[in-house]
Symmetry: D2
């Protein structure tokens, strides 16, 4: 006890998601057990610039495993985009006496960590977090299971009301660059069509399949990512209404109009939006968050820096931060085939089967 | 058994909501026990025009108590607004041999029932359904508890992410004429401010209270009805962006902009929309739906027509359809006082208490 | 501010239930707004004996509306059953300078409050809490809706697995003296039979109805209160296994054996137990808890002592504590008739309807 | 279309669990798309003995992805334990003209499939299902995520009421041979101690840790598998009460008594039991069930028989049925270390940290 304890800082940056608190908790419990003092930097890299930090103890974080969001706060502050930002971060490292820093966040947050390690040998360990699950270096990131679980439930609610009103329903979920959220939502909610950023929407095909599904069930469900390519049909409308309006309107509303026009069936849409970020983490995200948090603390103790913890199969392993950030994991062909089979094939086959009877 | 059985028709009209299936189930089980044959008219009054109906049996409806929506389908078709609509309805009464008709729906659906009884002595019994809970003739209508439960959970999710990002969050819920949904959502989710159709929003007051709440918690939550009076401040913005845009944008987005501008605090909004209509009914709505459905069948058997079943305290009683429809129940002064105390007073007092320390 | 503030104490006694925290929150916010300082006595009447208390502020309780249990702790300590207990309570009143005391609890907790008011003019206000909903002085008590909601969900899970295995399932829920919990659970989960303390179980009738339900669905569900009269059939078994064993075994297990023996159908049982007490309060319990908490603080401020807050229809009114405690509200004939119709009649009619086809 | 379609049978055996319906659905949709006619054998191997089967179509199974249990029914019937059972199964293969049979179930169900393939070259494909997740041939089996999710929520409810009453709570979950369910439940619910079949419970250690946790939080949670070794301490009590009683009583009750006796702290217990089997499958189980169902149909079409579908990392691969069944996956050392860190270390460290302040 006479010896000075080693110190580890923890921060969470970028958009928040369920699983961050389990990860913080895991890191603090493991780091403390390994003899570290833990400090929670406030609001992501902003905290490393201002030096604002609070002590974190196992007792203090014991009860946060079921809380959504992050107790440390988060921000999109990037020291590389602030004047003297990097100098301030390096100064905070010194002033707080940090022997290690665990940075939890997405591409941007981890990108900062990668540069600090490369250029200044800062003792950083990364914990990946992308609600969209689009990071190629890891099989899964926490937040995804919780977000899709909510989207799946929302989709089921939409089908309830859609069936009563004999409508087609369109649900828009997150996913700018990769369609994992819409893919999982569509499959798990038994949707009739799914639109992903990975491929241009074939409107003709979509309309044919929705008609078939509707003929059978008097309701149909489309799940779409927030960013998809609607082709010319989209562009036309864009010209008609002007650029500002399209940005304000989402894909769901746009799709909804197209579908109603082309099928003649009343169509309604809904957007999950910010609600998808909150809520208690699911079992999956609690376990994954906990495991990567614990492993990050082990890396910090072992001096394994410049690495990010990654889930590979059943194991949590280190992956170089520099290589890890920026490599996007898009939905591959075999999953697209599964989507075709389940979200679309079902309707068509059922219709033909019904016809065959 | 040699005697011809009496026949009762059942229909559901207007917007769907959780509780309709329990009500249908209750009506069918009770009517069958009282010797009726039951017929389910399809898609509200439309089914009484086309005559499309399916047999309903206790065994067939036994398992629907936990299903959202309505197994009978619904529509906004109003025979009084269709050429020969009323004649078709009267013809269907005869052709199907209905001794009674249980009509479940809101103001519009029950208004048709009231007129058919008044003008043609049609043997109708009404079952009220307004998700907004704004019918003065009954203490509660089913659907309200389920809808607010979902809104409450959505509000809590928004607070999770808002707290992480240090934001003010605005949630828009249903309620065109009365603010019951936003009032209950705000109180049950511990919101910091609530905006209702019943009174003009005092923007200055709102901003002051949100600032105080935010100072204490680094997050604040506003719950707003879909229709509120934002005064001049709203009009100004309207001119700036043009009429079409305002219609597309909701109250939440508008409020959000005002708040962010006036507080300087990042503000985000979400709209529940159609998701609020679906989902398994809550316990409360299953019990209420069941009770009014059973009672409606008892009225039908006893020849108590032209009446609607209403919850008064702990009892389900008949109320004249003619008087019942159209009398709006808005949020009264004592509930507004409770909202002031809980959704706003808390923040202010807490802030002053904190200051006093 | 120069004046000394009035002080109100708050305690929660007896078994905990969802809704206590909303009630504490409501009372603290309203009392503070009316100029009171608030003190939270620890662990029910025990806190009034030991004098252990913590300050409660609006800011401190703002976030507890969605927490199960009670932040004040609870116990079954009864000052009238402790040596010098009452004297200690009176001493604590003086020492803490309490101008009022809000006691939240069941028959036992409120009984103490009633005696302290009657014998010592202690300035007490009662807030009723019975998870069993068996207090005749009030229409509903908080905790009931949350507890039944959980039981309803558990019942639905049992039916899922029962249907897969072609079994009869028996669920035991709370309710020693009144069958409200089993009644509501049975109706809302669409059970095939319900056993209540209010009437002796007619085993012959039960078996006949379960056979009919099973013939139709290949599954059947019985919901039973923890205390019911099984008649001789129960006694026989008691002798066979001895007294100690029967106490250890619950009603569900006993019923299960009888049913399996008499129907020849595999039967399984489950007991909810303590899980039924926890969890976030439902919307209904948050609203009711909040309203009675607020009203109790208003009574305290107005000097309305010796009273309990009671829900009557849509209003919260005062009822004499002395009269209120001890008057049991059992399930009346009209509700039993509803149970007969829904939990049993459905199966029988469906079977006969099926036979008729 | 003139050609005779190939036929595939599907059955589900053993204990049911969430995920079976998604798997059936996936198999039917994929098999139909590959040109198969699908038949659902009733109640596991029993259906292959009696030949009772129903046609399954994509349209018919489209809506079952969110249903608990199995629409095909299940049983523990084992043709190898029935006179002429195997002969009857072979006869059914012929009579129904099955080109393939997909058998979904645990060790026992798949063991039958393995023998039928080995001894009679029956064209079987296995789909593993163990709610305990204790099959070494696959990373995860569906049902586990849903079961633990429910246990986790039950644990949280117990903590709510335990905290209010200042009690230690003990929750008993499934797991006869492996402790995965209790391990995941304990970690995800932030439990203070976990008892697994994999190692003898060190009562002294347990009591010390629970005391420390209780000192800090005034509540503690123990999660235990249904089968654990309590050592001598358990035996003593066994003698006292006799063998029959111990079988009736569960581990939770036993543990509860020991803890209360040795800590002097009031302790209560709960058993999840059959409730853990039902309920809508979680996202994870819907996706996994769907994927293995689809893959099983692909194997059937490709003539890959005598194999079981297994999840390995991110892929679904074939594993020999003969090798797969019977190899138990117990909790390995690294996971036990994680349990020690999280479920026990936290309490101890927090207590010592508190002491250090």
């Amino acid at each position: 006890m006479a010896e000075k304890k080693r110190k580890v800082g923890i921060l969470t940056g970028g958009g928040d998601c369920p699983g961050l608190n389990p990860a913080i908790r895991g890191a603090v419990i493991q780091a403390s057990a390994l003899g570290f003092e833990c400090l929670g930097l406030q609001e992501g890299w902003k905290g490393m610039i201002t030096g604002e930090a609070v002590p974190l103890t196992p007792g203090g974080v014991a009860g946060i495993i079921n809380q959504g969001g992050t107790i440390l706060g988060t921000s999109r502050t990037n020291p590389y985009k602030k004047e003297n930002g990097v100098a301030a971060v390096l100064e905070t490292f010194k002033r707080l006496g940090l022997d290690a820093l665990i940075a939890m966040g997405g591409e941007d947050t981890l990108g900062v960590a990668a540069k600090l390690y490369r250029d200044h040998k800062c003792p950083v360990v990364g914990v990946p977090k992308t609600m969209d699950n689009d990071l190629s270096a890891t099989d899964f990131t926490f937040g995804f299971d919780s977000a899709v679980t909510l989207a799946m439930e929302a989709a089921e609610r939409l089908v309830d009301t859609g069936r009563s009103h004999r409508r087609i329903m369109v649900l828009e979920v997150m996913g700018r660059h990769a369609g994992w959220v819409s893919l999982y939502t569509a499959i798990s909610a038994g949707a009739d069509y799914v639109c992903l950023p990975e491929r241009k929407v074939d409107l003709e095909d979509m309309v044919a399949r929705l008609r078939a599904a509707y003929a059978r069930k008097k309701v149909a469900l489309v799940v779409t990512s927030e960013a998809v390519d609607l082709g010319d049909s989209g562009q036309e409308e864009l010209d008609e209404f002007g650029h500002m309006i399209l940005r304000k309107r989402g894909v769901a509303e746009k799709l909804s109009e197209i579908i109603e026009k082309q099928t003649g069936i009343e169509t309604r849409n809904a957007v999950i939006g910010h609600m998808q970020r909150g809520g208690a983490p699911t079992l999956f995200d609690r376990m994954l968050g906990t495991r990567v948090g614990v492993k990050a603390a082990q890396f910090a103790a072992a001096g394994v820096f410049g690495q990010m913890v990654a889930l590979r199969g059943d194991e949590v392993v280190p992956v170089s931060l520099e290589k890890a950030t920026g490599a996007l994991k898009i939905v591959p062909a075999e999953w697209l085939a599964l989507a075709d089979l389940l979200c679309t094939g079902a309707a068509v086959q059922a219709a033909s089967a019904a016809g065959a009877r």
